[in-house]
């Protein structure tokens, strides 16, 4: 019954979407907005990666919302798992072999550095706060796998989360009070193209996002691994 209804639904959606796709030919020249961004992004935001200039420049407000979504999910996950109460701790995990643990100590700082490289260069090369944050979180994931007893420093993580989020909001509000009087306006000097210290607020925001996403995702993994009896 349910499957039949589902299949009919699928068929209807499929036919509808198929017809509308005919109106959106694949690979056709882009839209005015895309053109505008590609033409003007370097001048408007100072970033050479146009995707970054859209994510943290033209549509920075979306990104603020997106960071909030992740924050909500991390909080919600904590709340859902915390209400079980009882003793906490991880059981049934044996310590990993020398290869994993020594390799991990060796790699941990390097992975963190790599994550930082990705989010500090978000306006120049592919990548940015989210990708860098995910890399940082995967470093923590490695730690959990190699030494199961290790816990993330929870108060440190939540401090990083809150403070980096506040930095984002504060930069937005500074744009409202300084210079242009627009929320999230790029009020810092834009610097020379293709150098690290350019693009005004973009690298600053991306650093905040990278730290926030990294600590949030690491916290998510940590919370999920927590065994509650």
């Amino acid at each position: 019954m349910r499957a039949t209804v589902g299949l009919i639904l699928l068929a209807v959606i499929g036919v509808g979407v198929g017809i509308s796709l005919l109106a959106i030919p694949f690979g056709a020249p882009k839209t005015e907005i895309g053109d505008y961004y590609i033409e003007n992004a370097r001048e408007d935001t100072g970033a050479t990666n146009v995707v970054t200039s859209v994510v943290v420049g033209y549509r920075a407000f979306d990104t603020l919302g997106e960071v909030t979504v992740l924050f909500v999910a991390a909080l919600g996950l904590g709340a859902v798992l915390a209400t079980a109460g009882g003793k906490r701790g991880r059981s049934g995990v044996e310590p990993a072999s020398l290869i994993l643990s020594a390799g991990n100590i060796f790699l941990f700082p390097l992975i963190l550095l790599f994550g930082a490289y990705i989010f500090t260069h978000g306006h120049l090369t592919p990548g940015g706060g989210f990708q860098g944050g995910a890399v940082i979180a995967s470093a923590f994931l490695l730690v959990y796998l190699s030494s199961p007893g290790k816990r993330i420093n929870e108060s440190g993580a939540s401090l990083t989360e809150s403070v980096s989020g506040l930095v984002f909001v504060a930069i937005g509000l500074l744009g409202l009070t300084h210079g242009t009087h627009y929320f999230l306006a790029n009020f810092l000097p834009k610097g020379a193209l293709n150098t690290l210290f350019s693009a005004g607020i973009i690298p600053v925001i991306y650093c905040a996002i990278g730290l926030k996403v990294g600590s949030e995702l690491a916290g998510v993994v940590d919370n999920l691994m927590e065994e509650t009896e």
Partner: protein
Amino acid sequence: MVSPVLLLAVPLGLALCVPLVGRVSRRAAGFVPVIASLFNLVVSIRLLPTVLEEPIVANLGGFPPPFGITLFAGPVGMLLSALIALAGLVVSLYALSYIKTGPTVRYHTLYMLLLVGATGVVLTGDVFNLFVFFEILCISSYALVAYVGDRAGIEASVKYLIQGALGSALLLIGIGLLYGLFGTLNMADIAARIDSVDSVPVFVAMALIVVGLGVEAAIFPLNAWLPDAHSSAPSSISAILSGIAIQVGLYAVVRMVFTVFGASSVLLFFVFLGLLTLLIGELCAFAQNNIKRMLAYSSIGQMGLIMFALAIATTGSVTGGLFQMVSHTLSKALLFLAVGYMVYRSGSLEISSLEGMGRRMPLTSFAFTIGVFSLVGLPPFIGFPSKLLIVRSALAEQGVLLQVLIGLVLLATVIEGAYFFRVIQTVYFKKEEGQEARQDAPPMALLSMFVFVAFIVVIGVYPNLITDVLESGASELLERANYIGSVLG
């Protein structure tokens, strides 16, 4: 001039502060939502007169539309944001005494972010931005429904999440189609170009978006999650979900259908859908023994009524629909708050266990009764002028069809009255067995309930206080050309 973006930025910043405050004192964390909602209420009310003359269009980042994201603060946006702030303020006061156990700091943070999401949805003028704020609203509701962590809460939350996530995916496909067709995400820009494209793809995009948003708005075939979620959540959250979240979902549907798509041809379909939602909601509510489930089904019915009124699309009926939104927020939130403590004292959700509450909790029962009277539409409470307006404006339309439909609406109201008065009878007139000590809700909770009671009575007696706003809201929704003009200049 105060920018409407403060309505989002300040509560968001404060929400990020809650975990920090919570470290110093867990109790203090509960006051942050109060402060944020108060701020929003003051700013919204201050902006209302300005907005009535001319809507405020805020370009974020200083990029002109359609290149940046635009916030559009018109009468509807400001009315709803004031309503969200008011309900948020009152319910956060209530939560100070109601939410005692569990990870309270996380509760207050999530609660604030839910309000931020709702405010964002009503203020934004960008389709994708709407999606982002909608997700904030939805994800925080999923988490809050499961807050108590009992069997019912977990199950309700899981069902809600699966259906909601499915809805968001469809919504995103719809947005992708819109971008593919029009090459822009700004609502006004899309609205201005809507006729430049073949109507079939536009219709498919609209269908996907309406279905996606309709899950949250509890439109008839998409509302299976609602009774579970609203009845299993903590009562303060039920109040916000019933009073705010679903209405914000409905607002989003209305904004897309009226303003962006300008789809007058499908409105009759929505009239029927609204009526169907209304009848099914009220009939199911009639069959319930569980008081919170009854209220939840009644919310479905009310959403149907609001949709019915909005979809008739005359100035009078849209005004009535918006009025009913205000009335439903105040009454239903009040009912959930009152029921929260009644259930807490009786220890059961069964309606029969509320016997003798009239004597045990007189003030709470009084507030409950006011809420019921208002919801059913008795004078002199707010529900009366709003329902009257809907009925009058529907009757003013020519055509037998609408006359028949309005008859069905009245029938639904009768059903609503029947099951609500059964509860009132149980609360007051059933004889009770053992005399139990009188023990009312704590003062903070009573205060919050009576704030709602005051609003219900005052607006019920002087509906003219808000009709100006409602009427200009109606014209904002009905006249797309003005909307397009004020955004694109």
